[in-house]
């Protein structure tokens, strides 16, 4: 009798477990995510698990704003006012399938007054409430840069020095797709997880470029700037995998010596340390101090894999600016402005 009761109980447990298994199998059954490389359109079948107690199979088509193949070139200059001028030219590759209609970078410091926007485009600088710095935008609505076209004249000025950052670009989405009749899939299902990863990792097309990144105090303080630059070297360039550890150690030592010299107001020592940094960079990339536009063949002169060429070029520019500011400061000290004339005593 006991055995029979136990058998009945086990049967019920097995039935319940099996029913649960069937439900979960059904929930995933029919889900799919496919990509049509000819049209660039994703088709997704997924279960909406959140709008009601029973999962409902949904169908949607969508396109990502990443069907573009942009190139971003930049030049760096110092303005007469001592600001760094960042100029960009964006080219939409011939293989692009969408019109490129949005260019964005994050600047540690930039103001709308210094932004230049080419004709036919709109520009805007947006300070970010939850992060330091601003978003610098250039955009077009209802149109964009056609495949194969390029556009220059995007520029911004900043008191901050450049570091390697990203310029983000977006393609214009087509408006004729069916879209989602809900909020779309969530990570609750396997297809949903694929979808979420897909859209979150493919929100824009990024290209590395120099962007305002190294804070420079006003008035200029070599110790602070060098400390910021050293942090950028140790943390940002390393995390971006743009420099190897041996060169980081070598440059780090030079930065420490330079910071020490700056603290002690040892201008000669500081200048020598900075020149050593530039020399170390030149050793890695002979044409590190050449502007990108002058560099006709990127690969021919590249000598080292120890540091990315763009990173070396930007770092060299930073050190060059610091050297110039030091020289300017010295010059001011040697030739101080005449004292304001006061009433005769």
């Amino acid at each position: 009798m006991k055995m029979r009761r136990l058998s009945q109980t086990l049967s019920i447990i097995v039935a319940v477990l099996f029913a649960g298994f069937l439900a979960s199998a059904t929930a995933d059954d029919g889900e799919s995510l496919t990509y049509n490389s000819n049209t660039g359109v994703y088709t997704i079948e997924y279960y909406n698990t959140y709008d009601g107690p029973t999962p409902v199979l949904k169908h949607a088509q969508f396109e990502l704003p990443t069907r573009i193949d942009p190139t971003v070139k930049f030049t760096l200059k110092e303005s007469a006012k001592g600001l760094v001028v960042y100029q960009y030219r964006v080219r939409s590759g011939k293989e692009s399938k969408q019109d490129l209609n949005f260019v964005q970078l994050r600047a540690s410091e930039a103001t709308a007054a210094t932004q230049n926007t080419p004709a036919g485009w709109e520009g805007e600088v947006n300070p970010q409430p939850d992060a330091p710095g601003s978003l610098v935008n250039w955009f077009q609505t209802f149109r964009g840069l056609k495949p194969g076209q390029s556009q220059g004249g995007f520029s911004i000025q900043s008191q901050d020095l450049p570091g390697v950052g990203f310029v983000q670009t977006w393609g214009r989405l087509r408006r004729d797709l069916q879209g989602f009749s809900d909020l779309g899939p969530t990570s609750a299902t396997s297809i949903g997880k694929q979808y979420v990863d897909l859209v979150n990792n493919n929100d824009s097309v990024r290209r590395t470029a120099a962007v305002p990144r190294i804070p420079v105090p006003n008035p200029f303080d070599a110790t602070v700037v060098l400390t910021n630059l050293q942090r950028y070297l140790d943390q940002d360039l390393v995390s971006m995998k743009l420099i190897d550890s041996v060169l980081v150690t070598q440059l780090d030592r030079l930065f420490i010596a330079a910071i020490d010299a700056a603290k002690r107001n040892n201008i000669t020592g500081l200048r020598n340390n900075l020149k050593d940094i530039r020399q170390a960079l030149k050793k890695e990339h002979e044409d590190v101090d050449k502007d990108e536009n002058e560099d006709k063949d990127d690969n021919q002169k590249a000598k080292s894999g120890a540091i990315d060429k763009l990173a070396a070029r930007v770092l060299d520019f930073d050190v060059k600016v610091i050297l110039k500011r030091i020289d300017d400061g010295e010059s001011e000290n040697r030739n101080p402005p005449p004292p304001a004339s006061g009433p005769p005593r």
Binding site: T49, Y50, D51, G52, P53, A60, Q61, F62, E63, L64, N101, F102, Q104, E124, N126, Q128, P129, D130, L135, N137, F139, T141, F142, W170, L173, R174, R175, L177, Q178, G179, F180, S181, D182, L183, G184, P185, T186, S187, Y195, V196, L198, V199, N200, D203
Partner: protein, 404 residues
């Protein structure tokens, strides 16, 4: 067999003698207690608020008889009841042995000497069980503040003696209850509102037991997705103790503020979802971005078109279960809307032609979203819930991953 009382008065003491009597005589016992209670009242020794006597197992006993003596739980043992002595001379003693009556006085402990019916007259101050937060207490009455879906591991339960010294190795029980209609939800179920879960490293449940060891028992509280206030009731299993101090874990996102009125947007009020009346809360940073977005939109389209704002987050964030009004509480549909960083913006001109973003402006609106550093969900062109009455833009105001 029941036990009843018989009063014996003496000049030196009052003595209750409990003796086995037949039920027919039970009334005499009740009278006896009544008389005794009256004598306490006459003597100005009324019970104080936290004293009470259990009515069980002798139903019908006066409820305000309060002798203290801790939770002296005894049972009638074959009808052989003992003595209950109540002495007026100091030190006044209390003895209970094998009697079929119990007294509950939270301020007295088993074995402590009872010294009279007035407040605090036990033979020592009560033992106390306290919850604490090793990371510090946010406020005097709050044990911890935890974000929905997250856990805090800094909690500890300790028992202290009369002198405030730590009592080691106490067996304790902790149990979670959720305070009704807290956290911005004007509903509690069914199904019941999810409770926070406790863990002492051994057991994970809404009720756990354990030993405090030499330094108290550490435990964690894992918050459910909905915001709300969770009370942790602590008690001793091997002694009588009284819980004091902070006992409430507040589950919610800190720092959310109501979206202010603005000429550049319209808050859709009142919320038709009466179970969640306060649906317009965001982080200050998100409000800044929202104001930019709405400002740009109103400048761009000057024909009096304003963004109409629907659900953002509840006042303390967490799960925004708008399905509750359809009888499906404590689960999405609002998959996100939890952190005060997302908002729904009306985009159903077919239903709301004057208060919605017109279809002709959809693309411009989407560009505006990107300009201010926000993102949208789902991916692709156009609003969420496309083609339905509920068509709207779901905007993640602080950017980053939006679809989850």
């Amino acid at each position: 067999m029941r036990c009843v009382f018989r009063c014996v008065r003496s000049s030196a003491f009052l003595l209750f003698i409990l003796s086995p009597m037949h039920s027919a005589n039970a009334g005499a016992g009740v009278d006896c207690v009544d008389q005794f209670y009256q004598s306490l009242v006459d003597a100005g020794r009324a019970c104080h608020a936290d004293q009470e006597a259990s009515r069980d197992p002798l139903a019908g006993l006066p409820t305000r008889v309060c002798f203290g003596g801790g939770e002296t739980e005894v049972s009638c043992d074959g009808g052989s009841c003992g003595f209950l002595g109540f002495f007026e001379s100091a030190p006044i003693g209390f003895r209970a042995s094998n009697i079929c009556f119990w007294f509950r006085d939270p301020s007295c402990l088993p074995g402590e000497v009872f010294s009279g019916p007035a407040p605090g007259h036990c033979g020592g101050a009560p033992q106390v069980i306290k919850l604490s937060n090793d990371a510090g207490l946010p406020t005097s009455d709050t044990l911890a503040e935890v974000e929905p879906g997250k856990a805090t591991t800094n909690l500890r339960v300790r028992v202290f003696n009369a002198n405030g010294q730590l009592v080691p190795n106490a067996n304790v029980k902790l149990e979670v209850t959720v305070i009704a209609k807290s956290g911005g939800h004007q509903h509690d179920g069914p199904p019941p509102r999810p409770k926070g879960e406790l863990s002492n490293g051994v057991v994970v449940d809404t009720m756990i037991t354990g030993n405090t060891g030499p330094n108290g028992m550490g435990f964690a509280f894992a918050a459910p997705d909905p915001a709300g206030d969770h009370k942790i009731t602590a008690s001793c299993l091997d002694r009588t103790c009284k819980q004091e101090g902070p006992d409430t874990v507040r589950v919610g996102v800190k720092g959310l503020v109501p979206i202010p009125e603005s000429p550049t947007y319209v808050l859709i009020t009142p919320n038709t979802d009466t179970l969640h009346p306060n649906n317009h809360y965001l982080t200050p940073a998100s409000i800044t971005v929202l104001q930019k977005l709405a400002g740009r939109y109103s400048q761009q389209f000057t024909a009096g078109l304003l963004l109409n704002l629907n659900d953002a987050s509840l006042e303390r964030g967490g799960l925004f279960d708008i399905g509750a009004r359809n009888g499906i509480p404590w689960r999405p549909p609002h998959v996100t809307h939890k952190k005060g960083t997302e908002i729904d913006i009306r985009a159903n001109p077919q239903i709301n032609p004057t208060t919605s973003i017109p279809e002709a402006n959809f693309e411009a609106f989407e560009v505006n979203v990107r300009k201010v550093g926000a993102t949208r969900c789902p991916a692709g062109a156009g609003p969420a819930y496309a083609g339905t009455d509920n068509q709207h833009y779901h905007v993640c105001l602080t950017g980053g991953a939006c679809c989850v």
